[in-house]
């Protein structure tokens, strides 16, 4: 996270202040070893931890303990992780980070479209997991974007939404309206993945959700204007088969 993108006071993304209670993370995972690893990782980053080994148990815990974030493995013994996401979303806006295996891109898309906030691919490191969790928490906290700040900065990239200006370093970049809307959609929550359909719906409208090539062409144009080396992008990252994300802070 950059300095300019500093969190609101009391944001749980930073190590909690002694006064406020530590945020609660619900780990939904049936593998004992994974649970052990997740518990160690999360508690060492200042989270309290609740555990559920099944989908039903997860839904019960989510209702009774009101966690601040859910880390959900898609492969559960009883309910499908996807089903857990859907049921949770019926009544809760708690951030959900999905844990999935490589090669299951369609599962990830379904989970994201069902309301999950982000995902990590097994195997993953602690750093990656915590980055996703932080972004998800921030997303939940800033769920009212009209109240959000008007400028977003990631590295040298700066988007000034008030003035509708985009800068890379000191250089102002001139974008077409669609390119601009695309960049804004991605920069609402830097670091968070957006599926192709989510982006198409936001930028072009509901009638375009299957026109993936529009997205690819404009994304390429955008990269050529923003990235110094478009084939090795630093800001506009591709998640193959899933979607795009703007690099997190």
């Amino acid at each position: 996270m950059s300095d300019a993108d500093s969190p609101e006071p009391g944001s749980p993304a930073e190590p909690p202040a002694p006064a406020t209670p530590a945020p609660l993370a619900l780990i939904v995972e049936d593998e004992r070893a994974m649970v052990r690893f997740l518990r160690a990782a999360l508690s060492s980053h200042g989270f309290r931890v609740a555990e559920a080994a099944t989908g039903e148990e997860a839904l019960r815990q989510a209702a009774t303990r009101a966690p601040d974030v859910v880390v959900l493995d898609l492969g559960l013994p009883d309910l499908d992780g996807l089903e857990v996401t859907r049921r949770l979303r019926e009544w809760s806006q708690v951030p959900i980070v999905v844990v999935s295996a490589r090669g299951r891109e369609s599962d990830k898309i379904r989970a994201l479209d069902a309301g999950a906030d982000d995902y990590v691919t097994k195997p993953f490191g602690v750093g990656e997991l915590m980055a996703r969790v932080r972004v998800a928490l921030r997303h939940a906290a800033g769920a009212a974007p009209e109240a959000g700040e008007t400028a977003i900065a990631v590295g040298e990239l700066r988007v000034d939404r008030l003035r509708r200006q985009v800068f890379v370093g000191e250089r102002e970049v001139r974008l077409t309206p669609i390119e601009y809307r695309l960049l804004v959609a991605l920069s609402q929550f830097p670091g968070r993945v957006l599926t192709h359909e989510q982006l198409l719906r936001q930028v072009w409208g509901p009638g375009y959700t299957h026109q993936h090539h529009y997205l690819r062409v404009y994304m390429a144009q955008l990269r050529h204007k923003i990235e110094s080396e478009p084939s090795r992008p630093r800001y506009l990252l591709t998640e193959p088969g899933v979607g795009y994300r703007l690099r997190g802070a």
Binding site: R102, E105, P145, Q165, Q211, H213, Y214, R223, L237, T238
Partner: protein, 911 residues
Amino acid sequence: MSDQRPDPDELLRRVQEQEERERRAKLKIFFGASAGVGKTYAMLVEAHERRRAGVDVVVGVAETHGRTETGALLEGLEVLTPRAIEYRGATLREFDLDAALARRPGLLLLDELAHTNAPGSRHAKRWLDAEELLDAGIDVYTTLNVQHVERLYDVVAQITGVAVREIVPDSILERADEIELVDLPPDDLLQRLREGKVYMPELAGRAMENFFRKGNLIALRELALRVTAERVDQQMESYRRDHAIRDTWAVGGRILVGLGEPVAGLRLIRAARRMAERLQAEWLVVHVETPGEFGPSDATRDHIVDLMGYAEELGAETAMLSGPRVADQLLAYARERNASRILVGKPTRPRWLSAIRGSLVDTLVRGSGDIDVHIVSGEADEEEDRRTLATRADVPSLRASNYAWSAAAVAAANVLAWLVHAYVTPANLVMIYLLGVMAVAARLGRGPAILASVLSVATFDFFFVPPYLAFRVSDTQYILTFAVMLAVALVISTMASRLRQQAEAARQRERRAAALYRLSRELSGLRGVQELLEAAVRRVADHVGGRAVALMPDGSGKVALAAGDGSLLGAGGHDLGVAQWCFDHGQAAGLGTPTLPAAAALFVPLRGSRAAVGVLGVVPTPSRRALTRDQLRLVEAFGDQVALSVERAQLAEQAERAHVLIESERMRSTLLSSVSHDLRTPLSVSTGAASSLLAGGAPLPAATREELIETIAEEAQRLNRLVGNLLDMTRLESGAMPVKKDWHSLEEVVGAALARLEPRLQGRELSVRLPPGTPLVQVDDVLVEQVIFNLVENAVKYTPPASPIQITATVGDGALRIEVADRGPGLPAGEEENVFEKFVRVRREGDPSGVGLGLSICRSIVAAHGGRIHAANREGGGAVFVLTLPQEGEPPAIAPEDEAPTLPDPREAPR
């Protein structure tokens, strides 16, 4: 036979017969001169003895005809329940063959061997049931009267004046291991008859009375005794032969039967058979096809072929010869086959014709030399032959129109002659008529040509020989003209029509040969069994006329439709059972055969080298018209051809399966050895490192701890890559990873791969050259990203850290081409293709380890895209991997967006 040494073939045959006789089930016939002598009684008495000796005896059929003492003998014997068969409203009770086969007794009693089964039974005759029982290994006791024996048929008919319908072939008598004569003097028999103790099944009324005259009974008894005596004689003979008593070696030699024209029919064959029997000789039945005036009509030809088949059934060897002169052919063949006797029928040709053309018998006798010529009396009783053989009565049509055309031709000759008669002499006018006769002979055949000859002479006389318009002749020298004219016309017509028939016969043979040739050619071009069968079914239908099906056995030996129209198997697959029988027994069955003749189709087995591989069924059109023996032969020849091909295809499939099995076996062992090595190495390294960290004792220096932790992380990553590759490979090979092509930005795909590679690149110099304008390409982004990832990772792994890596992509000529080039050591010569094989790594000193799946995954993905990948060494050192992916069509259009400035429009405000 002219040489008297034992023929080795003959000896071998006898040894085989002996072996077969010992192996197979035994047949015993209780043989009698007529009904009422006590055959059934004798059979039952012996059955009781056998039962007491511990044999499992079952009575299949025992006709007691209400005789109490016989009926009493059934006590204590197991009797099979007869099968009820509905036939024309009546319920017939027949022997239940299937029940007998299922029951499998040691000995089965089957009375009345000559019995004709009710329609709807499996076999038309009971003796066929007996054969099947014997083939199934069940001993059979049966009874038989002398008048039913095939070769005595004529004699019995002559003696008694009663024609017997039910005939048992001699072959089954020969097959009998034992024949027991049940004898009763005629007076005693007549006594029993008067007492009402004899039931006369197949004879009724006056015929019966005639039959049981004392004279008849004596004659029949003599016949029965003689048959039995002959048999005893044979046993003696064969005993002597087997014991190499050479001086009594049979000198019967071969007998050649000339089944000439006109057909002497069954009598000739039966006479030959008797003679062969008596002389212990082999016999050959030949027919000489003369392409001349006696060239056979289709009906005659069918008849001859049927007779030949009949002779074969009686044990003769048959052959078809062809040549202009019957006698020459017969003599030549007799000498060739070393036959010492020739049998021909008595000539029936009118004497005058023999005088002109010479008679067959004369020519034979004159040219026979040391060969005996026998002439068998007997009229050409074609009508009777037909009945016995159940051939179809195809009446040769006279083709009246041909004669009309013939008359028209003569009329035309007359008109022509009239036009020119003023300019030429009458002698030359004759030529015009001869021309007409020749034309008729060539086109219409012999009969019309003879008509034309006679008409020509008559009209010539009428119109052009004075006195004109009268059939009289004033100048006697014209008589000579007429005679010569008639003679020349007849000779011409004979020769021309002979030529025509020769050509026709040749065409027919040609057609048959061509049909077989075409079939074998067609079959040799096909690979799969299914295709073969389809082709065979088509061809058979074409050439036999009608429709055909092919059936193949499943795993359990039950045949099922494999090709052709299933409705041909009758409603509800009614004929399937017939096909099954045919398959099980390797014999033709169904329509036109003695077995299950009620079926609509004829089934012939596809005889492979070991057993039947399937069944070919033919339904002729019009339906229920049995095939001629000729057609049957063609179908069988087809069947053999198809069987060979099917067997070939099956062997090829087996070999293919075996090959695949071996290949996958090899793969599995390679996989095991590679994977076990490459999985264990990182596991043991991390285990070791972790245990060092956990171990108590002296605390490790911070640098060492750091190093151990890094090692664990690295090895875990390596393990992750390996497992990932194995999973990808498995998914690709099982088809669980389908190619989903879409239009993607090439830059983005490359970028994604590089982003994932970032941690492994560690500042390596890497340049990317992509086509300008970031075109969309048609690929599966996830899979192609994996390919680029693997190729670059491979380059990083096998080249020195400081050497550059270059990615170049071009789009054009309907293909996307991506190159990944390095400046490493390059590939060893000859390994350029091998690197894409599974588990192959180009091992060199100091190289990192790994299973070597990365490149083969690349190849699988590229192949799934319909593209190609290859590797080569670069000029100036290093290797280059090139993949080409085909591109189809144009990228989809994008609605243009006006190049508007970023700022104004407040409605564009973000959400």
